[in-house]
Symmetry: C2
Subunit: 188 residues, 2 copies
């Protein structure tokens, strides 16, 4: 049997993947418990807030995982246009490698639950702000004024979210490539 902290982290990861692929409502606690292999008793010990708590933790963890990748790209990219292209390529690979099952790990649950659960809504808003903040800091380091950088960063996040949605509908990475092309044309 895995150690308790491993089991807890595994439940969060499993939930995150199921929420990403099929959404919040379609994912039952039983499915999460079975797929993560954690004993049911310890599950409620770890997550007294049940599915809602798990969703908050899963969104936060998935958001941090994307943020970590984005920070890595930002450390290497010579300029904003290249950073956006690299970030988009990451998302293209995620879509292609999952047969278009895995888009944004946060978007589906956000749309389902933003008006139903304040903790889930706040966690989602926190994730989008985290990603925007990394992009905004990068833009400031590359000569953008802070206010402009914040707006541009949020615009990039919004555009890529919409492109991921269209990509899943079309089962094609074309909307992402189109977004990268249009965004980089104005970023330099």
């Amino acid at each position: 049997m895995p150690r308790s902290t491993d089991a807890r982290a595994k439940a969060v990861r499993t939930a995150g993947l199921l929420f990403q692929e099929q959404g919040y409502a379609a994912t039952g606690l039983t499915e999460i418990i079975e797929r993560s292999g954690s004993p049911k008793g310890s599950f409620y010990f770890h997550f007294p807030g049940g599915k809602e708590q798990l969703a908050v933790e899963a969104l936060t963890a998935a958001g941090e995982s994307v943020a970590e990748a984005l920070r890595g790209l930002a450390a290497r990219a010579p300029g904003p246009a290249r950073l956006v292209r690299d970030y988009v390529k990451l998302q293209e690979r995620m879509l292609e490698n999952s047969g278009y099952r895995q888009g944004c790990p946060v978007a589906t649950v956000t749309l389902e639950m933003a008006s139903e659960s304040e903790p889930i809504r706040a966690a989602a808003a926190g994730v989008f702000a985290l990603w925007s903040g990394i992009l905004a800091d990068y833009l400031v380091r590359h000569g953008h004024r802070p206010g402009d950088a914040a707006r541009s960063a949020e615009h990039i996040v919004a555009t890529l979210e919409g492109a991921l949605l269209l990509a899943r509908a079309q089962q094609s990475t074309k909307p992402l490539r189109n977004a990268a092309r249009t965004l980089t044309a104005t970023l330099g």
Copy 2:
């Protein structure tokens, strides 16, 4: 009792609203039947394909309703920047009037079901293509080259979808206003 065609249309409208506000998986057939006031027997007569058929029809109807509004705005707008601003204002009002419960009527179901149901995925892709097509035609009438117009139009649709998602997470129309500002700066 309403006429059969009225009852059918009402079931599609009710389903569309519930899908928009809470998503596909969270919306049960029983809730749709009860809220639309249609007798259960006639429901299965009208929708032998059940919830999946209803989702396809609801997405298509909601998509057409937005398209109709967009065509109306396009008939009056003197140029692309104004059209985008007017379109965004429409979406701001929809969010504000619903207490941020109603974002895009298609996005939530698309993210939940694109990998689960080919008919729903195809209907969603058709809706996004319909909206993009109206915008692309407008851009061509205002001097854009067809290929550029198609790309710009899809970019506008993607950006506004992402902005609607962020707006629901933030419970604020700020992402939409930011999207309008950035899109119109390049559209003229």
